[in-house]
């Protein structure tokens, strides 16, 4: 049995309400003996949700707070006004050692800000990064994983070359630990594969990564390589990464939309789609990444996994598992050791 790990869940603020998060966390208490969950949110809603779902109460605790940050709220204002907002409280509980890492499917900005106000940056890291996995056409690692990791996707809008190098180290460590990929390839996202392509920060980061030990840097990649899965870890600033990530989501939605449109159109197509259904399920499984795990905020001494706002229970469960794995395999230490010594 691994050493027990406690994951704090910000139960409030996800698109599907507290019940979905509670269900996902409850499932975690059944799936693993070594993971404990700490549900932070409105006690009554949590208990109401728990009354509907099997769970192991020995591995579950509730920290009540009626306050939370809604999706539309401005993070700074909301956290200033609500010191007991569930997401901030979850971060504080992690900081206080009540839990080892946190998961939230609520307002991303509020999550990142809660970390920034509560956690410390690792020595050698100047800015945090939000990383996320997405499915690709390539499979990798021990688990034959179709996912690549991309960071930053929104935490640091104006990353410097130093930041990009740190992101590369953090992403590499995370892929190694979570994807069981012993030696993940790391690439910089640019507008050309040549080392000199891109804005100065990217060019400089390329030069520095080329000589950094411990990271298997494969150079620059282009946008086309993102869905192809050319690199296991894609490094970029938060502005570019955020646009890319949201675009991938949009494309996925659009493809599904088109398929639905085609479905309505013609009887013959309908028959065809019925026959194809198992195949489409498989494609959807690879395409519809929203249901897989979450996005880690890397760079702080404590880990925060940001699950998608639209996460259903299964995504929450997976986010919790990922968080627990990162903690039990000591992600923070691995990253600290990998950062360039200055």
């Amino acid at each position: 049995m691994s050493r027990p790990v406690t994951i704090a869940f910000d139960v409030m603020g996800g698109d599907h309400g507290p019940a979905e998060v509670v269900r996902g966390a409850a499932q975690l208490t059944l799936d693993s003996d070594s993971i404990h969950v700490l549900l932070v949110g409105d006690r009554q809603q949590i208990d109401e949700a728990l009354s509907q779902v099997r769970h192991n109460a020995e591995h579950l605790a509730v920290h009540h707070t009626p306050d939370w940050v809604a999706m539309h709220e401005k993070p700074t204002v909301a956290l200033d006004q609500k010191p007991n907002a569930s997401v901030l409280l979850a971060a504080k509980l992690v900081h206080d050692g009540e839990a080892d890492a946190m998961v939230s499917s609520g307002n991303t900005g509020a999550g990142v800000l809660s970390c920034a106000r509560t956690f410390s940056l690792m020595p050698g890291v100047r800015r945090a990064a939000l990383a996320t996995v997405y499915p690709t056409a390539t499979h990798r690692g021990e688990k034959n994983d179709p996912f690549s990791l991309i960071l930053d996707v929104g935490a640091t809008v104006d990353a410097t070359a130093d930041d990009l190098v740190a992101f590369a180290v953090m992403g590499s460590a995370y892929a190694r630990i979570i994807s069981k990929n012993k030696d993940p390839s790391v690439a910089l996202l640019s507008n050309g594969t040549e080392a000199m392509k891109g804005p100065p920060r990217v060019v400089e980061a390329n030069a520095r990564l080329s000589t950094l030990a411990g990271v298997r840097f494969i150079g620059n990649i282009e946008g086309v390589d993102i869905p192809k899965g050319t690199a296991d870890v894609v490094v970029c600033d938060g502005f570019v990464g955020n646009v890319c990530l949201k675009m991938l989501e949009g494309v996925s939605e659009t493809v599904i939309e088109l398929a639905r449109y085609a479905y309505k159109e013609k009887l013959l197509w309908r028959a065809g789609i019925a026959m194809l259904s198992s195949g489409i399920e498989r494609i959807k499984e690879v395409t519809d990444w929203e249901q897989y795990g979450g996005a880690p905020i890397l760079g702080f001494d404590k880990l925060f996994i940001k699950a998608h706002g639209r996460s259903r229970a299964r995504a929450i469960t997976n986010a919790g598992k990922v968080a627990a794995k990162a903690v039990s395999r000591d992600l923070t230490r691995v990253i600290t050791e990998g950062l360039p010594k200055s």
């Binding site: 406690t6 009554q44 208990d47 779902v53 605790a61």
Partner: protein
Amino acid sequence: MTTPTRIYRWDLDKTYLQTEFDTFRQLVKTAFQKAHEKKAVPGAAALIRELKAAGNTRLCIVSGSPTQMRTVLTEKLKLDGVEFDELVLKDNLRNLVRGRFKALRGQVGYKLPVLLESRARAPQDAEEVLFGDDAEADAFIYSLYADMIARRVSEPVVYQVLEAAEVYPDDITRIIEQWKTIPQADPVRRIFIMLDRLTPPAYFSKYGPRVVPIFNYFQAALVLLGDRHLSATQVLKVTIELVQTAGYNLLTLSNSFQDLARRGLPLADVAQSLTEALQGPAAMLQMVRPVPDIIAAFSKRVASLGAQPPAPPARDIDYLSLLDDARPRDKKRTRFE
């Protein structure tokens, strides 16, 4: 002694013993297990020992296991240091072969008369605490039994329930007659349901606050401390067994504590008693290490719940409408349902 006799009635499989017989293979294995191979649910033996330690108590065990297993079961209980007063086993082998009671008739028609017969022999003022599990209709049968003795349920309702449960007519007549010989009383203090299948505790709220679903016997011990069937020191002894033999720790214990608190069980006095017991000179308590943490952890868990809502009130139970709930589920539920 001024305290009345206390009767603790226990089911065996899944309540006292960790039994798996959902597959034929498990069933055969269970049937041929030696005494020392059988495993008790963590804390069950310690809890029974502590309950018995008060004296003037009776331990009555009713099991669906066949009479052929009396020897091995007796031996197992002896190994665990459990002294029982009654051990009722089922009179034929058929039930074993069928694996478990397939029909409600099998449960109601067997357990209810056994309980009534045992009660008929008991002192009229004897209090009872019953232990069952969520694998079968224990919550239903125990509650029906309690309410029959208390005459909170009418003869026509009992008749209808037994009929709906497909109990044979002459068995029904016998049960009703037996019941009438038992003087009216309200002896059942608690019905503990061990959540072997992790049925959500709220599922049992329809049976009222008398029924307390539990994830472990530490929770039962806490409730029994509040009910003054155990002392704080005895609770700690049960706890120590859980920590030492089943890997329980501060986290699981305080989570279990909070779980009860969230369900509205009044634990303030319990926490107070435990604190005092821990601060006492008894060196034995040092085994729960680190000592000061346990109370801090419990307090923190309770504090983190905010204001405590009132405990759920007692309620009348509508047995007819609960009959369906009480029917045994056919399969162990899978994890991802």
